[in-house]
């Protein structure tokens, strides 16, 4: 199976990611993490990693359902809380979201979805200040590459342990961490509106996307070379275009260069400067 090329050594990768969360937070002088818990597999896995890294008392899972969010999602998020023993809080975003949405005559699902994602971002960063914690990101490599997320919404975080793992690899690691069965088995959904399914919306399966992206970008295969693996060339091209069009979402805003040392162009320092 071609998907086996994405096989992880879960034992080493889990140790590595636990150290990543621990060290990258502790070196800033903090010791806590806050993360959004949707009940989906990505944020659940991030919670298990954060708990191992920092201890359950130092991790805060925030559930932020909207009125129409699936009840199963909240139940699954609670299973993660019960299993890991991390702190939790339920903050329903219905009121602030509706206050915003209702001030317009009409709003598309896409706009609403972005409003939800950005309200959740506000909630997480606000709580990070309240708890002296950093926001742990929960976007995986597949969605980051596809740009299947909201800029400054769910894509915003301080550090992300799972952003270099494709969706298939998220599943491998989640099985390794023994996540609740219902989370491992349900269909992935952003749950921004009733009945939403990632794979239906994207128009292809995650496994296909993972294999195509892995060959295009990790192995630098050409579109034709990837198509020759047995994929529709139009699909491969569509995915490659999606990645290119969404490059902006993966970067901070661009700055008009005037001086000889422009931030991020030739004023170049890591974020861990002095840490």
């Amino acid at each position: 199976m071609i998907i086996d090329k994405l096989k992880l050594d879960c034992s080493i990768v889990s140790k590595y990611l636990i150290e990543f969360v621990k060290q990258e937070i502790v070196k800033t002088g903090l010791k806590k993490a806050v993360l959004g818990l949707s009940g989906g597999i990505d944020s659940s896995l991030a919670a298990y990693i954060a708990k191992e890294a920092l201890g359950k008392e130092n991790v805060y899972g925030i559930m932020m359902p909207y009125r129409s969010s699936s009840k199963d999602s909240l139940n699954d998020a609670m299973k993660v809380v019960e299993d890991t023993g991390i702190n939790y809080k339920i903050f329903e975003i219905t009121k602030p979201a509706d206050a915003y949405i209702n001030s317009f005559d009409k709003m598309s699902n896409l706009r609403k979805g972005n409003v939800f994602a950005r309200l959740r971002m506000i909630t997480l960063f606000d709580h990070s200040s309240e708890y002296s914690a950093l926001v742990v990101g929960t976007s995986n490599k597949t969605e980051l590459l596809l740009g299947y997320g909201t800029w400054y919404g769910d894509m915003a975080s301080c550090l992300n342990p799972i952003g270099d793992l494709y969706k298939n690899q998220i599943y491998q690691l989640s099985r390794y961490f023994n996540l609740p069965k219902s989370i491992l088995e349900k269909k992935p959904s952003a749950d921004l509106w009733v009945g939403q399914s990632d794979e239906d919306e994207l128009g292809f399966s995650y496994d296909d996307a993972d294999v195509i992206l892995y060959h295009l970008f990790d192995l630098r295969f050409s579109v034709d070379e990837v198509a020759a693996l047995g994929f529709d060339k139009e699909l491969v091209e569509a995915i490659a275009n999606r990645v290119r069009k969404n490059q902006f979402k993966r970067l901070p805003p661009i700055i008009a260069k005037i001086s000889k040392r422009t931030i991020n162009i030739d004023f170049r320092y890591l974020r861990d400067w002095g840490l």
């Binding site: 090329k5 050594d9 990543f20």
Partner: protein
């Protein structure tokens, strides 16, 4: 011989605090009666320096080394730093022994592909030297150097007894390979072909998500790891080994004896 490999994390761009940690590890190595303490590449400064290179570069005669020179009367010390010489910067290592810097090595091969930016900031050294120490003939390579046969070839030609590699090697893996294994394989190849010990001192810690894997090791001339540090965590490992193994390995397989030293395929 008793050697300490000091697998440390560093604070990016903070020489003073890194030197305190280095001194602490040297004290421990002295207490443990080691004769040599080896630190990773750029141990004084951290790795992902980018524009910090201009702030942290020091002369090889810098007073930062004074305390280490004092301690070197009890133990030989090898560590990586940013060397500044007349406006140019080098990814260098100093070997300090009996109160003096006896050798300053400038990394020859500066990676500038993938995630690496060394070629942008540093000037490359242009030779590999092998020095006589209390323990035998020592060659020093820094990380990427080891992935160049030409650098290994000089170490081989110079009849190296102990090859010491200072490293800041980042972790990566895929389904068919994993970074620590790559190092084992490259090092064991050299150990076996040259009949030498290989000491690999790699750092740990994360810099903007890049994790240095550690896994420092001492490998004997048969290519077998006799002491190995943990992955991803700071550790000081001590290994005691018989340097007579080196001559025995060379008797068993005298590769250099039949080597054509100026061999050039045409």
């Amino acid at each position: 011989m008793r050697a300490a490999l000091c697998q440390i994390d560093t604070i990016l761009g903070n020489k003073d605090r890194n030197i305190i940690k280095i001194n602490h590890h040297i004290d421990k190595a002295i207490f443990e009666q080691c004769q040599l303490a080896v630190f990773p590449e750029l141990a004084v400064t951290g790795y992902g320096l980018r524009d910090l290179v201009y702030d942290v570069g020091i002369d090889s005669n810098s007073e930062i080394f004074n305390q280490l020179k004092e301690k070197s009367r009890k133990i030989d010390i090898l560590l990586g730093y940013v060397e500044h010489d007349s406006g140019y910067f080098y990814n260098s290592a100093v070997y300090i022994s009996d109160g003096e810097i006896v050798y300053n090595y400038r990394k020859n091969f500066l990676p500038d592909y993938g995630m690496f930016e060394e070629g942008r900031y540093f000037t490359a050294g242009d030779y590999v030297e092998t020095i006589n120490t209390k323990f035998g003939r020592v060659s020093v390579l820094i990380c990427e150097d080891m992935f160049h046969i030409s650098a290994q070839n000089v170490a081989l030609k110079n009849n190296t007894d102990i090859l010491i590699i200072l490293s800041a090697s980042p972790f990566w893996m895929d389904s068919s390979s994993i970074k620590p294994t790559l190092w084992h394989s490259v090092a064991s190849n050299f150990a076996r072909l040259s009949g030498s010990y290989v000491l690999f001192a790699n750092r740990v810690g994360f810099e903007d998500g890049v994790g240095f894997f550690g896994g420092s090791f001492v490998m004997n001339p048969s290519g077998i790891i006799i002491k190995e540090a943990e992955l991803f965590k700071e550790e000081l490992i001590i290994s005691e080994f018989d340097t007579n193994d080196i001559k025995r390995a060379k008797w068993a397989m005298p590769g250099l004896k039949n080597e054509v030293l100026d061999y050039d395929y045409r």
